[in-house]
């Protein structure tokens, strides 16, 4: 493109230069981008220490939010499981006849919002308590069975949410035969509250960390640009556009993101591996088999995309400000 000499290509003598056909230029665009991307990678390789520091900062900054995310995700699944299986326990009065108990069971089975009812007679209750509590023979010294008969009510599908289950509980508790009813939802609500809080903190933390990553990458790229001040001036003198000069720096930012993303994966995987053994030990105490869910492929790709995005954003910020301001003297 010649602004001043519109007919430059057909002027005689020195100006007689062959122009590339448009399709060659079109093909050259991706080829150029690839070349410059590889060239910036080579540039990183030549100065590995400074670039690795930036990439490590980028990666480790992403590790904290992503590990916290894994934690929240796993806790949420546990909470969800418990919420689903919520059951209402009815402790019956002790002065009931067996027939009254059977009637109550049938009645409860037929009432709205109940899926199934299981009776745990006091004898069975005592037997189970003996086996599991560890008091064992000591309980034989009791003169009478202190336990009440218990009805375990599983709510119907539509009554499993905390509010509906609470309604059911209140309704069942009003019956004459029931001493009291219990459904331990309080602590689930609290857990949910804590999870929400952690999620909020996680979000805020992620935003702050991402912002600092952008600034750190921006600063590294800025130093890169300033160290190449003379080169940039020469390029401007021979007619390079800002876009052309910017491109390698933007690619550098993208590489920071790509490698920083890998660092984040690695560090998160290590952290999860580290925590997992502790979690397994803990869940063994509760006799519930539990597997810590790591990051899925989709989530890994999202982290990667975020890392690349942050790298690009940081370099764009630096490039915008500094390439324009360097003018040949």
């Amino acid at each position: 493109m010649s602004l001043l000499f519109r007919n430059r290509s057909i002027e005689k003598g020195a100006s007689n230069r062959g122009r590339l056909p448009w399709w060659r230029r079109l093909i050259m665009v991706p080829v150029h981008h690839a070349q410059q991307a590889i060239a910036s990678l080579g540039e990183l390789w030549r100065n590995p220490f400074a670039s690795f520091m930036t990439m490590a900062v980028l990666g480790l900054s992403l590790t904290l939010p992503s590990s916290l995310y894994v934690l929240v995700k796993n806790t949420s699944t546990i909470a969800d499981n418990w919420q689903e299986a919520s059951e209402v326990t009815l402790f019956l009065r002790k002065d009931l006849q067996q027939s009254e108990i059977d009637t109550l069971k049938t009645q409860t089975e037929l009432s709205e919002g109940v899926e199934s009812v299981r009776l745990i007679p006091k004898e069975q209750g005592l037997k189970e308590f003996k086996e599991q509590s560890g008091f064992g023979e000591t309980l034989d010294y009791l003169s009478s069975n202190p336990l009440p008969d218990v009805l375990v009510v599983i709510p119907a599908e539509s009554y499993r949410s905390p509010q509906r289950a609470e309604e059911l509980l209140n309704r069942l508790e009003k019956q004459r035969e029931v001493a009291y009813a219990k459904m331990d939802l309080e602590w689930l609500n609290r857990l949910q509250g804590i999870l929400n809080l952690i999620e909020d903190i996680l979000g805020a933390l992620a935003v702050v960390l991402c912002l600092s990553v952008v600034l750190i990458v921006g600063n590294t790229i800025r130093l890169n640009i300033l160290s190449k001040r003379d080169e940039i001036m020469v390029m401007k003198l021979v007619g390079a556009t800002n876009a052309f000069i910017q491109r390698p720096f933007l690619y550098t930012g993208v590489w920071y993101g790509i490698i920083g993303g890998l660092v984040a994966w690695l560090a998160t995987a290590l952290l999860i591996w580290w925590v997992e053994s502790a979690v397994v030990d803990l869940t063994e105490l509760y006799e519930t088999p539990f597997k810590l869910n790591g990051l899925t492929l989709g989530e890994l790709l999202i982290i990667w995309a975020i890392a690349v995005g942050l790298g690009l954003a940081g370099s764009y910020l630096a490039v915008r400000r500094h390439i324009q301001s360097i003018e040949p003297e």
């Binding site: 002027e11 003598g13 150029h32 021979v238």
Partner: protein, 225 residues
């Protein structure tokens, strides 16, 4: 080719580098621009290559008013002007080939496509054998030739040279000037700023003279005499 109309340039801080400069260099003409240090030679060249903008008056290249050139268009204007500097302005960590190929790469040539032109340009300035060297390994005269090769590799219609012989001995200086003459013979307009009056005296080219920012002689009266 280059036309100045009542051009003044005052730098920030009040230093007036040029005042009411008028002249016209024809297409395909070769001219010298001379004057003592600080007379405004460099400023004048900077106004042509858009490194500076005039405070008043207008500069035209090939009939185009440079005031109408937006900042985003400046790179394209510079691609039409080959520039040569006293300090060469070479990239010291790049080979001679990379230095000379730079303007072509910027225009979108691939390295393979650029190779032929780079070799041709280096042959023209007589250092085709130094293609893989680094500028540091070359003498001052050779470095200047690399700078010239870079300026002509895109075959621009206009060459500007700011003290191209500043650091060279008279023999080398004359060789460099002979190079410019060759380009001029194939139709390139050449404007050379120099304070080397001895050099100018040996050649019979139009000489524009600046003094304290004023054009005291635009070289045309002499030719009329």
């Amino acid at each position: 080719m280059i036309r100045f109309e009542q051009v003044s340039k005052t730098y920030r801080g009040g230093h007036q580098a040029l005042s009411h400069v008028d002249f016209h260099v024809q297409p395909g003409e070769m001219a010298f621009l001379t004057g003592h240090s600080g007379a405004g030679k460099s400023t004048l060249l900077k106004l042509i290559s858009l490194m500076e903008r005039p405070t008043a008056g207008r500069v035209l290249i090939n009939g185009h008013d440079l005031r109408k050139i937006k900042p985003s268009q400046v790179p394209y204007v510079r691609r039409d002007i080959g520039m040569i500097f006293q300090d060469h302005r070479l990239l010291m960590d790049k080979t001679v080939f990379d230095n000379v190929a730079l303007p072509l790469i910027i225009e979108g040539y691939s390295v393979q496509e650029a190779r032929k032109r780079v070799v041709a340009a280096l042959e023209k300035v007589g250092i085709a054998d130094k293609v893989k060297h680094y500028p540091k390994m070359l003498s001052g005269g050779e470095q200047q030739r690399v700078g010239i090769a870079r300026a002509i590799v895109t075959k621009p219609p206009l060459l500007l040279a700011d003290e191209p012989t500043g650091n060279l001995d008279p023999k080398l200086s004359m060789e460099i000037i002979r190079l410019f003459e060759e380009f001029n013979k194939v139709g390139v307009a050449v404007l050379i700023a120099t304070h080397d009056l001895g050099l100018i005296a040996r050649l019979r080219y139009r000489t524009l003279t600046l003094k304290d920012g004023r054009m005291i002689n635009d070289g045309l009266e002499d030719s009329e005499l």
